[in-house]
Amino acid sequence: MRSAANSVSEHRDELVELDRAIGDGDHGENMERGFLAVRNQLELTVPESPAAALKSVATSLISSVGGAAGPLFGTAFLRASTAVGDAETLDGPTVAAALRAALDGVTARGKAEREDKTMVDALAPAAEAAEAASTTAGSGPSAVLRAAAEAAETGARTTVSLIAKKGRASYLGDRSAGHLDPGARSVVLLLNAFADVTGAE
C-alpha cells in the first residue's frame, strides 16, 4: 500500500495534467491526498487481515479524497474487502474475486459502462484478465495482479480515443477524445504498484 501511495505521489503532476485536459485538474491532488491518508492510517494501526487492510484503505479514501474519485475508489476497496472475506493471505482466485467485486461496486455507484471513458475502462479488463489468469494452474496472486495491471494498461490506453459519457469529461463532448482518462490511469498506477510489491514478496 505504501508503494501505491508513493506511485500516486510520484505521478501527481501527470494525473493533474490529464485531469486538466478533460476535467478540472484536481485528480492528482485528490489521489495524492487520499493515499497519504491511507498511509498515515496504516501506520497508526496495523490491520489484522487483508480484508481489514482493504477496509481501512476504503475508509481513508472515502474520507479524504472527495470528488468523483473518492467515493468510487472507496467503494472499490470496500467491496474488495468484503470479497476477500476472512482469507488470511490472498491467493490468485481471491485477488480476481476482489477485483471483480471492486468493478461491480464502481459500476453500481457510478453507473458508467465500458467505453464511457472512465476508470471502468481500465478496471473491467483488469478484472477479466485477473479471472482468466487465476484459472490457469499455478498462478499466484502476483501473476494475477500482473495480468490485471497489463490489461488495465491496455484498457486505459483505449480511453484516449473515446468520447466521455460520464464524469466531468463528458461535458467536453467530442473534445474529450484524444486524451487519456485520469481515473483509468490511476487504476493502472495502483495495479502496477500492487503487482510490483506482491511480486517482490
Binding site: D24, G25, D26, I62, S63, G66, P71, G167, Y171
Partner: protein
C-alpha cells in the same frame, strides 16, 4: 500564478479561519472536517438546510449560511466535492430533529459524496431529503453526459427553500419547494478568461484575446462553443436565448432574473449586462419582478457572467422576499 495565499494546500482552511474572524457573531467555523454553521444552530423544530461542494465558488455556499438560508455549508478542496464524513458531521451539528434537506449541485462527485453522507446520516437517525440542482442548459445532451450541471439556480434554491424552512415548513414541504424551484429555473454562463486553481498553478483553459467561451461551467468546464468576442448585446442574447427556449419561458410569465458574475467581472459590466437582459425580456413579454445582480456563484477569478431565470409563482415570490441574513445576502 498570482494569488494572495500562503501554501496552496491550505487555502480553504486559511480562508475559513478568516471567515470565522470576520463573522464572529453569525457563524461558527470548524476546520477538521471543514464546515460552517449558523451560530444559533440547531434551531429548534426547524428543518435544517445543508449544502456544500468544492471551494472556489464563493460566496456559494459558505456565504449563504445564516437565518433564512443555509444552516450549514461544507466546503471541499478547491473545485473538489467534500467527503461524506464532513457532510455528515455538518448534518449532525445542525439537525434539530426535524430533518435535513441536502442541496446538491449535479456533479458526479457531489452527488456520490452527498449520497453516502445521507446514508450515514440516516443510519444515525437523521431524516434527510436531497434536491439535486441541474439548471445549466449549456449541457445539451444530458443522456450522454453526467447530466446538467447545477449552477446559478442553486443560489435561488437555497434562498427559497431556506425561507420555507425558516417559516416552519416540514421536511417534505421544504423538499417539494426546493424541487419546484429546481424544476423552474434555468441558467447559462460564459467566460472571457480562465481561473487558476491554486494547487494546479496554471489557468484551467486558454482563450485567445479575441475569444470567449459560451456555456462555460463554474469549474471552467468547457461550454457549448468557443466564439469570437461580441458586444454585450450579443453576449446576453447568446445566454438568454437557450435559457428561454428550454423551460420554455412564455410571454406573460413572471420571472426572477439573476445576473451573476463569475468572479472577475466588475460591477459596471454586470449591471450593464443586466440592463440588456431586462430589456430583452421585456421585449418578449416576460415580466421581471425580482432580480439579483452580483457575484454569487463564481469560479475563482474567472471573468465572465451567467444568467439565471426562475419562473415565479406567488409562493416562490413570497419566500424570495422573506428576510435573509447571511454574510453574502441580506435583506
Amino acid at each position: 500564478m498570482k494569488k494572495i495565499i500562503n501554501a496552496p494546500a491550505d487555502v480553504v482552511v486559511d480562508a475559513l479561519r478568516g471567515m470565522a474572524a470576520a463573522h464572529p457573531d453569525g457563524l461558527r467555523v470548524q476546520t477538521d472536517p471543514a464546515f460552517v454553521t449558523r451560530s444559533d444552530a440547531p434551531v429548534t423544530d426547524k428543518v435544517a438546510l445543508v449544502s456544500g461542494g468544492g471551494s472556489g465558488h464563493e460566496p456559494l455556499h459558505v456565504g449563504f449560511v445564516g437565518s433564512g438560508m443555509l444552516d450549514a455549508a461544507v466546503p471541499g478542496p478547491v473545485f473538489t466535492s467534500p467527503t461524506p464524513d464532513a457532510v455528515q458531521a455538518a448534518i449532525g451539528r445542525v439537525d434539530a430533529g426535524a430533518g435535513t434537506l441536502l442541496v446538491v449541485k449535479n456533479y458526479t462527485g457531489d452527488v456520490l459524496n452527498f449520497e453516502t453522507a445521507a446514508e450515514l446520516a440516516e443510519a444515525a437517525g437523521v431524516g434527510t431529503r436531497t434536491v439535486v440542482v441541474q439548471d445549466d442548459v449549456a449541457v445539451q445532451d444530458s443522456t450522454n453526459t453526467a447530466g446538467r450541471r447545477g449552477v446559478g439556480g442553486t443560489v435561488l434554491v437555497e434562498k427559497i427553500a431556506g425561507a420555507a424552512a425558516e417559516r416552519g415548513d416540514d421536511l417534505a414541504t421544504c423538499h417539494e419547494i426546493a424541487e419546484r424551484v429546481s424544476a423552474n429555473v434555468r441558467s447559462m454562463g460564459m467566460a472571457l478568461t480562465a481561473p487558476t486553481v491554486p494547487h494546479v498553478g496554471e489557468p484551467s483553459f486558454t482563450l485567445a484575446d479575441y475569444e470567449m467561451e459560451i456555456g462555460v461551467g463554474i469549474h471552467a468546464e468547457p461550454g457549448r462553443e468557443r466564439v469570437e468576442l461580441e458586444s454585450a448585446d450579443g453576449i446576453v442574447r447568446r445566454l438568454l436565448d437557450p435559457v428561454l427556449e428550454d423551460l420554455p419561458f412564455r410571454e406573460g410569465d413572471e420571472v426572477l432574473l439573476f445576473t451573476n458574475s463569475m468572479g472577475g467581472t466588475p460591477a459596471t459590466e454586470l449591471y450593464l449586462a443586466h440592463g440588456i437582459a431586462e430589456r430583452m425580456l421585456a421585449d418578449r413579454g416576460l415580466r421581471v419582478t425580482r432580480r439579483l445582480v452580483g457575484p454569487y456563484i463564481t469560479s475563482l477569478e474567472m471573468q465572465g457572467m451567467s444568467l439565471t431565470l426562475l419562473k415565479l409563482d406567488d409562493e416562490l415570490r413570497r419566500l424570495w422576499d422573506a428576510p435573509v441574513r447571511t454574510s453574502a445576502l441580506t435583506w
